[in-house]
């Protein structure tokens, strides 16, 4: 079955990324999971994605830096932040960097 969309999912927590990826795959999405900022950036340069789901606090460089790089490379790709940080400043910062939405972890 053709996946609905290819997702670049960046999250450094092993268990959270496992359950999220599992559910997204069950919903027919193709998910490429990366643990660090640099790994995610390499994957983004290597493969085509339809959407990026990024955590904020990441090893290497953080989700904001990654979003900036992605947006500079591809102004059209949807970027979604999925973070535990619910601070208004973080939300605004994420959206100012060009993210399409900023969701807090459930």
């Amino acid at each position: 079955m053709t996946p609905k969309a290819a997702i670049l999912y960046v999250e450094d927590d092993i268990n959270l990324s496992f359950v999220t990826k599992d559910n997204l795959e069950l919903a027919q999405f193709a998910v490429t999971h990366c643990l660090t900022g640099p790994d995610a950036w390499a994957a983004f340069r290597r493969e085509p994605f339809d959407v990026c789901v990024l955590d904020v606090m990441l090893p290497g460089f953080d989700g904001f830096t990654l979003a900036e790089k992605i947006r500079a490379d591809n102004p059209a790709i949807p970027i979604l932040f999925l973070s535990a940080r619910a601070d208004k400043t973080d939300r605004l910062h994420g959206l100012r960097l060009g993210a399409d939405d900023y969701l807090t972890k459930p």
Partner: protein, 433 residues
């Protein structure tokens, strides 16, 4: 208020303080120079008058410019005729008083036969008493009959004239000091706010992430489909187990620090229950509970110390947890002991990312995290603070030696327990309920 705006305000404030102080210093210096010039001019006039009176006494016509300044406080006065010391001193005193130059002076009269100052006296304004001249006054080869006069109290005389300026400078200094202190408080408050914000971010992340994972896992377990997927069910059970343990550990870490901290003063209030603990046994037990295996290197012949076993175990686990957390590849962790005199040194060494020397002291502060490590591993900035509190409560010392990229070594020094006061060796690791 944004960090940039605060930095700009602080910079402007510091520049303002520097500007105010510079202007004040320049004004005081200018005022002093002006007063000095006034003193010199007045002294010239007064001494010129003295020379005139001496000339009149001797029935001669005096050169128009009788006064020559040889140093900032020393003048030569040409009289072109012999001088009687008593009369001269009277003339000088009268003339200086008339020009309001009420300050100490010393004078000497030149003896042309012996080519030196023969008569000298120091005249003090404190009762006008004469005392012998303090030192030999310099001579001047151009005149035959002259006297020299020095004003040793010139600087203090001028300073007294600047009382108003000095007072206003004092007021400015006090205002500047208060301003600087306020600035310091603002900066400290800003740092505390940043630390608090970072801590809230960390604690949100560390507690929210396992909770989120548990929520998603619980939703999955509620679905019918999972019952027909035993492998998936097993994985979700593992995730729930690990995340609940992790959450438990996080809460325990926060509670441990809360128990070691007393309100705003951050004074330790750890209630220790010290017993004799065989550190070699304890270290071996702890090393066996970690994966990958931890190496031990015991060089101390005896390792029995007096310690609170519960807190000591937490400290050791904390240090080993940190060592593993900050060793990104192929960790080699070593727990070692050695004896130095009557002290036991035990240490936890790793081959991790290391800590720059600038952070060696700060890492034991509450909520402090090495900025460069924040993206490497998550944490509250509480672990090493707790370690430090426990070490301090025991009266021990802790030292960190570390080079970035080459690992870290945390060494704790504590006195060895002596057999005379050694109570029974404690049982293996047991946590109070």
């Amino acid at each position: 208020m944004s960090r940039r705006l605060i930095s700009v305000l602080v910079l402007l404030s510091v520049l303002s303080i520097i500007g105010i102080l510079t202007v004040q210093i320049v004004w005081v210096r200018n005022a002093y120079t002006l007063r000095e010039r006034q003193f010199r001019q007045t002294a010239f006039i007064a001494l010129q008058e003295v020379a005139g009176r001496v000339a009149t006494l001797n029935h001669i016509v005096l050169n128009r410019y009788a006064v020559t300044q040889l140093a900032s406080d020393y003048f030569i006065v040409n009289t072109d005729s012999p001088i009687d010391p008593v009369t001269l001193e009277h003339y000088i005193q009268t003339s200086l008083r008339a020009h309001n130059l009420i300050t100490d002076f010393e004078y000497g009269i030149y003896d042309c036969e012996n080519n030196r100052m023969v008569y000298g006296a120091y005249v003090s304004t404190q009762g006008g008493q004469q005392t012998p001249a303090q030192r030999m006054l310099p001579t001047f080869s151009r005149y035959t009959y002259y006297f020299g006069i020095r004003f040793p109290g010139q600087a203090s005389f001028i300073s007294e004239q600047l009382d108003g300026w000095i007072l206003s400078s004092g007021v400015v200094l006090i205002v500047v000091a208060f301003f600087g202190y306020t600035l310091l408080i603002v900066l400290r408050q800003r740092r505390l706010t940043e630390v608090q914000r970072d801590f809230i971010n960390s604690i949100t992340h560390e507690l929210q992430t396992p909770v989120s994972t548990l929520c998603i896992a619980a939703d999955v377990l509620r679905s019918e489909a999972i019952l027909t997927q035993p492998e998936r069910l097993r994985q979700y059970a593992r995730v729930i187990h690990e995340e609940s343990r992790r959450l438990q550990q996080q809460i325990r870490n926060v509670l441990l620090v809360a128990s070691a901290t007393h309100g705003r003063t951050e004074q330790t209030r750890l209630a220790l229950s010290p017993t004799g603990v065989d550190l070699h046994t304890l270290l071996t037990e702890i090393a066996g509970t970690f994966q990958p295996p931890i190496t031990t290197d015991f060089r101390a012949t005896s390792a029995v110390i007096r310690a609170d076993r519960y807190h000591l175990t937490n400290v050791l686990r904390n240090l080993v947890d940190n060592a593993l957390k900050y060793t990104l590849t192929d960790p080699h962790i070593t727990l070692s002991t050695r004896t130095e005199g009557d002290r036991l040194i035990w240490s936890v060494q790793d081959n991790g990312i290391g800590i720059a020397p600038a952070h060696h002291k700060r890492i034991f502060r509450q909520f402090y995290r090495v900025p460069a490590h924040e993206s490497t591993a998550h944490g509250f900035g509480l672990g090493l603070y707790y370690v430090h509190q426990v070490v301090r409560a025991h009266g021990w010392s802790i030292r960190v030696t570390s080079t970035p990229g080459q690992g870290s070594c945390f060494s704790v020094g504590c006195p060895l327990d002596t057999p005379a006061i050694l109570p029974k060796i404690d049982a293996p690791i047991g946590h109070p309920s």
